[in-house]
Amino acid sequence: MNVVPQPQFLPVDWWALGAVIALTAGAIVLLLLEFVPPRPRGNRGAIVGLLTLAAAGWAVWQVRDSKRALFEGMFVHDGLTVFFTLLFCAIGAVSVLMSWDYAKRTRIGQPEYYALLLTSVLGMVVMAASNDLITIFLGLELMSLSLYVMVGFRRHQLESNEAALKYFLLGAFASGFLLYGIALLYGATGSTNLQRIGEFLGDSPIARNPLVLVGGLLVLTGFLFKVAAVPFHMWTPDAYQGAPTSVTGFMAAGAKAAGFAALLRILLRALPSLSDEWQPLLAVVAMVTMTVGNVTALLQNNLKRMLAYSSIAHAGYLLVALVAGGPDGSAAAVFYLAAYSAMNLGAFALLTLLGRGSDEPVLVSDLAGLGFRQPVVGFAFTLFMISLGGIPPTAGFIGKVLVFGAAVKAGFVWPLVVVGVLNSVISVYYYLRVTVALYMRAPEGEPVPVSWNAPALVALGITVVATLWWGLQSQALWLAARQSVLGLL
């Protein structure tokens, strides 16, 4: 007699899924609310978005100390998940705050904007929480598809369309690579679960099998694309430049952090036994990424483009931390991602403040004389630039000390760390250019207007305080980062 399988409910811990559920519900509510016509200049979308992100953050905070594996180990709730979920919620909230007025000014404030932002955060959370190649891919696609649309949100602007199309096409290729890599790894090891792949490769002669190596390489390629590492960085400048500024800030911080979170899990959980193969590879990629990013950024006059190349360079620094590996390296990467998110979001929040209507200032020279006319803008911009350049007393400096310290400890002084620190000298040149424009050049023609608004000021305040505080008192964040990677290793 055939046994009819009885439908079984998987044992689900709803708290561990709290953030995911909240974000999904928020996105759906936002879309459903469309049936009720909004007020012309209402803030409904932004408010619902903020509440959702707060609820998601709150939910994960409630269970911050527990460890769970759900759905047969596809989704894990551990330190890394908690840290990154909170980080993504914070990134999302700051992005909502800086979009609040900006979206209205540039007429991109449809509710879909915030709904997509929420689904994109959802994708990031899933990426960070996945312990399985399939769910990682799901999260990645959810995040990327939302971002493709958001990049093209200024649909009447050719630049924005071009950016979205480029991002989408190249992103589709990268997804293809990733998926093919997953298929090969599955074929070689018989599992998509990271832990099982790791265990399988750990005590098996198959680890050096070309199937595994090619599969791993393709997976790596997919992620290097997402985090904008050279030579898969070509989309970055165009996408960053064409996207609405608030979206650029959001994806520069969020997508990068999500990519690195997933990469961290894959490298340390699934492929630790292949570290002899990927360490030198990533070391080379890191050096090339830093150098290309920084040297190209030297030549940019467009601020968003400059920050795009700078974000490529920062991907290089983060790769240094991954190469270093171990608890120190991973925690340094996690720390650096938080610090980088704060300073980068802050810089983009400032950019959303500048300009009136949709005519944004985009060139470095547009900032001329702004520092003394608008002392707050000048101070904040300078702070973010010196932090991005890794100069004390800012979060960026502590981040660099931790990243390079981990790499030094792991024995990568020459050439990796030396190239890295010399790169930070190169980078200081273009970060200084911004302060030169702010303080040392007389404005030509009409000065740039600053559209002050309370939500963006709150976003600016949060990022300024985080950048300074983590520079002066980084103990708590460092311990949190250490804690988050403990379960992973």
Binding site: F372, P392, F404, G411, V418, V425, Y439, M440
Partner: protein, 522 residues
Amino acid sequence: MSGFPYLSFLVFFPLAAGVLVALLPRSAERSARLWATVAAGFELVVSLPLWWRVIPGAPGFQFEEQVDWLPALGASYHLGVDGVSALLALLTTIVTLLAMLGAWNQVEQRSREFFALVLALEAGMLGTFFSLDLLVFYVFWEAMLIPMYLLIGVWGGQRRVYAAVKFFLYTMAGSVLMLVAILSLYHVQRQYSGVASFDLSAFYSLPLKPQEQLWYFLAFAFAFAIKVPMWPVHTWLPDAHVEAPTAGSVILAAVLLKMGAYGFIRFAMPMFPNALLACAPWLAWIAVVGIVYGAVVAMVQPDLKKLVAYSSVSHMGFCMLGLMAMNPQGFAGSMMTMLSHGVSTGALFLLVGVIYERRHTRAIADFGGLWTVVPVFSSVFLVVTLSSIGLPGTNGFVGEFLVLLGAFRAHVPWAVVAATGVILSACYMLWMFQRVVFGPVTHEETRGLVDLGLRERLVFAPILLLIFWMGVAPQPFLDRMQPALDRSLELTRTRARQAAVVAAEPSALRAAAMPDSAGVPR
């Protein structure tokens, strides 16, 4: 005063005052300089006890403060002074106040920001001199660049942006390699002792094999040599000096350059003694080249500020030569040269600022015959010029004489070549003085010059006092610095001997010190 965080107060009072000055309302633009000067004056008064309360002979550091900063990494906020840093801190507070008074009328626009940055700079400089934790030291060392960069770049001359960015990049390029060395040492230290720490004392007791020391030493020495600056990495200095506003030039010359030499005394020499001994002859020759080169180039400068800038290169060469001689006379001479260079060169920049303020030119050819028009100015100028040359009875003589004495004891050719620098300095300074002050009045504008006013006389009076005091009775200064310098020298020698032992018996010493982590590969 035991429980009171005296050094922290010295570091953070100017910073807080700077923030307050920056936050003054726009209508208070004119009174910003007053409040800033009051703050700097108060700071000087508060710092004066460093002169008599720091006991010269006492072992170790005084007024120590230690608070956890980043306990997870072992970095602590650790401050302390000894004779060397106390004198340099006093120099800092005096020079900052004088520079502010000197710049009183020279900053018309944005004076709130200007004076706020000068105060922030003072905080950074004092923090650098007081830090006894390498990470905290590095934070102050680099954070200090920002106010100086802005001072040069915003309030400077024609090519100010170029000079400011060059200054920043040069210093940063040197110091990032030092950061790598610090991080690397930190891990070696952690493996050796099992305790993570950035504290200076931990590094002082860390045995390193002579061959290991070389790279560390070079990384540190490079950072400090750029700051000193030693030939051939001095090229940022003339640009920065010439373009900076008067107050910036004064502080740059008087204090910032000393940080490089201070770094050698405090960090590079005691931490890596064997590498130092190996490199000292080379560094000494580089210093000698710098002495002669700076002097020769100074001779042909048409611009007063540039002349003084190159004379700085020459004087700082003496400083480095004294250190590389590795004997008490050289050390004391080097330290004395630092102090007297701070006073004399600061005064020279102030004097150039005074005539620039009146004539808006710094070209030597635009002056002549000042003696008859502005006699007080010219007399002060004469005294300062002579002290810069090192005339016996002025401060410059003591330092240079001791340096030459030390160099002579160490290696005669160094002293012989360096001594030509003394002659050359007389050439370029006196020639400059003759063209500017003596002779007939060559330009009609010169006739309208006004002599030093009361404020300016108040600025130069303490400088003249210091010049003669340090020249005639240098013993109080030497008494204060000598024990600390001897200790640094002694530490360097002891550690050099220890390292030789470690090199001979590498495994025994290390294994005994770290039984649990002996297998960790380095």
